[in-house]
Amino acid sequence: MNLLWLQSGGCGGCTLSLLCSDARDLFGLLRDAGIDVLWHPSLSEESGAEALEVLEACVAGDMPLDILCVEGAMLRGPHGTGRFHVLSGTGRPMTAWVGDLAARARHTVAVGSCAAFGGVTSAGINPTDACGLQYEGAEAGGLLGEEYRDGAGLLVINVAGCPTHPGCVVEMLLSLALGSLQADDLDALGRPRFYADQLVHHGCARNEFYEYKASAGKPSDLGCLMEHLGCKGTQAHADCNLRPWNGGGSCTRGGYACISCTEPGFEEPGHPFARTPKVAGIPIGLPTDMPKAWFVALAALSKSATPRRVRDNAVADHAVVTPAIRKTGLK
């Protein structure tokens, strides 16, 4: 399968994240799965005119394009011209190239939240009129439009995340190479369900603090980050605490809140990222699928039952009270 990878209104971080894959031989793995990377801006041999020959052959249909991966948002501005990113050496806006190539692609993949939904590039006043391939924030549409289907009849596959986890990109590519990806393997936002059916909360190392609502008050505290420091792990769709980053990390393990970077519109939460918005002292964003009354009742109960160890450690940057040693057997 031929794979073409393009970058536009993003930071290149999804590619750099991919290079942190724990595969012993990332490119060998893809090659042995039958994936030939025709061109990738950071990695390919070909440059300049040779690279353009590859792109033009794909647009003309002379070279089959099985997988089109796009990283970075689509910059439609200024005034619909696409001139905020003219692909170098071509004089043509990247939006035009992506449109032509997506029309030929058997599968079209948005790598990262920028390509999927617009992401950080569309934040603030959205100076470049940035959008995703098939979404503008949570609204279907984007550059290719709601009606777009790839050669296999699928919507754009949105491997959302800022950045994407290398494992998610590799597994998505393998599922395409093995022909196993079906429409119902994607969630309602086009994200592969193998990671998007999880919550960041699942496997969070701060779980005991969450259980007792023993909350961190400032950066570097060990406690739960939800009540005060803006954490959205109980609502964010991703498997970051089950599929560790860079050997064993995650945002919450790194000492900071989940900002729900796989979600359309995460870049404009309507509040400072590191501060939890509350009404009458209760966080507005409650855990997904949790009725509010139950949450309030359970939170009050668990707070009153918090062991001293959990309460004291929550507001320290290292464990100041260790767990008591007990015999767990029956005799």
Binding site: S17, F27, E46, G48, F84, S220, H318
Partner: protein
């Protein structure tokens, strides 16, 4: 004859280079950054701490550097001090990214050019191709047995294991939020301190076996070009010696010559190795690699003052006052059609002059004899830039070992404070590619202005109002360029390790 080269790949981001050719050489060059995203517009009006979320996402390869610069700008605005552990953790995280970037540049971006068919027939070609042929490409596999260079498949796992340090200290890479104005939100436990030690040891072993073919200390001790070439002649293997063999054959010390002024804002907080005070020494505000502007002509180091920095927009697709502005007063207003403009990049100047930044500048300013000797004759070169990066790996990894050893689990990693409603601050960091500055203005508790001047903004600057070309534009002049695929032009451009997504943000 005018030639346009693009898309210029194996750089970070999109780049277009236009060349005016005369008699088979580049007479004049214009460097264009074709992508604009508008981070400086996006940040206006936001909560100052939100910068910590946005600015790392300027760049996926210099993400920690951007994060560190934002934290430093906020810190300056808040008047905070960092506890020693916080400075050590921040140094380790930044060094991890910088060293990994140097490695990525050498193995994935730069060396594959020597494995291109244009060099078939050179005495080293078969070895270069077997080792460095680009990891992916459209051309059919050519070499029997190992169609792609073997080095990338060995380097990437070593790099990924080294980056576990970023996972430990930053949660993930890229785009961490661990770095805070007061230090690090990720305190290290005693067990994790040992794990850091093990990771550094593993990376050192790989570097010494595969890249250097020698100890890091032995390479870092080389004191000039003569010592470097004598070292290259030792038949002890390592990818660096293969590069030096190629560099000698192709005379890369004569290629890409430019500059005369080399700038560094100072790298890595000093006083983090514990020293005589048993790991409790507060960072004294100094640097491991000193800041300054080194003139190759007179050998003097002049002090670097951020107040000496201005940005000129005369050749950028930007609106605003025509006179160069200090970043605190800078504007970023796109103007897609503007007479005489050819890039989205502003033209930063130090005291009105063009400077080069990067590992070569950092090591030359800091006074390393090899870096200074490689700039003999007053100009940087492809050879000097590449060697300086690898020299820096050899110098910094032992420092990382000392910083890790000096961590004191149980003592604070982060201090805390509040942001005044009215404040300003400059955050200066040496990223892998050179000097990175963030200029922050806070008014009414919100970001009133946020200006970023990145390393490749300096190096890939366009002409200024006086018509003075930027560092790469100068370095390309005189480069042999027989045609569009001219390898020499590729070497010169990549020798700067450009990061285009930082350049214009």
């Amino acid at each position: 004859m005018r030639l346009t080269v693009g898309p210029f790949n194996r750089v970070e981001g999109d780049l277009e280079v236009s060349l005016e050719l005369a008699e088979g050489r580049v007479a004049e060059a214009w460097v264009a950054s074709p992508l604009y995203r508008g981070f400086e517009q996006i940040l206006r009006g936001k909560d100052p701490f939100d910068a910590l979320v946005f600015v790392p996402r300027i760049c996926g390869i210099c993400s920690v550097s951007q994060s560190a610069a934002a934290a430093a700008a906020l810190r300056a605005a808040m008047g905070l001090a960092v506890p020693p552990n916080g400075a050590r953790a921040a140094n380790l995280l930044l060094a991890c990214e910088n060293l990994a970037d140097h490695l990525t540049h050498f193995y994935l971006f730069f060396m594959p050019d020597f494995a291109r068919a244009a060099y078939a027939g050179r005495p080293w070609f078969e070895r270069a191709a077997a080792r460095f042929r680009a990891a992916v490409g459209a051309a059919p596999p050519r070499l029997p047995g190992g169609e792609r260079g073997a080095a990338a498949a060995q380097m990437l796992p070593a790099r990924a294991v080294f980056m576990r340090l970023a996972g430990l200290l930053g949660g993930k890479w890229p785009h961490t939020l661990s770095l805070q104005p007061g230090g690090s939100a990720r305190a290290v436990t005693a067990a994790e301190k040992l794990r850091i030690h093990a990771l550094l040891r593993e990376f050192r072993a790989w570097l010494e076996a595969s890249l250097f073919g020698d100890t890091l200390e032995a390479f870092a001790a080389l004191d000039g070009s003569a010592a470097l070439w004598a070292w290259a002649d030792e038949r002890r293997g390592g990818d660096l010696r293969l590069f030096l063999e190629i560099a000698r054959d192709l005379e890369l010390e004569r290629l890409g010559r430019a500059g005369g002024l080399f700038m560094s804002v100072g790298a890595y907080a000093a006083g983090c190795d514990g020293g005589a005070r048993g790991g409790r020494a507060p960072p004294g505000g100094g640097h491991l690699f000193a800041p300054g502007v080194w003139s190759a002509a007179d050998g003097a180091v002049r002090p670097f003052d951020p107040a000496d920095v201005t940005e000129d927009i005369s050749h950028a697709w930007l609106d605003g006052p025509s006179s160069p502005a200090p970043p605190f007063d800078g504007h970023t207003l796109p103007a897609a059609r503007k007479e005489g403009a050819y890039t989205w990049c502003k033209a930063p100047r130090w005291q009105g002059r063009v400077v080069e930044c990067g590992a070569l500048a950092r090591q030359a300013v800091a006074g390393h004899p090899l870096a200074r000797d490689l700039v003999a004759g007053g100009a940087g070169s492809v050879l000097a830039r590449v060697v300086a990066r690898l020299l820096e790996i050899a110098r910094v990894l032992p420092e990382m070992e000392r910083w890790a050893r000096a961590l004191v689990p149980g003592e604070p990693f982060c201090s805390h404070g509040a942001m005044p409603d009215e404040a300003r601050g400059v955050g200066l960091v040496e990223a892998a590619r050179g000097a990175l500055g963030h200029w922050l203005v806070v008014r009414d508790g919100r970001i009133a202005n946020y200006q970023v001047v990145a390393p490749t903004t300096w190096n890939f600057s366009p002409r200024d109002a006086a018509g003075t070309a930027g560092a790469l534009e100068q370095a390309l002049a005189g480069t042999p360029a027989a045609g569009a695929g001219a390898p020499a032009v590729q070497h010169v451009v990549r020798s700067f390790d450009p990061c285009m997504v930082c350049t214009v943000h």
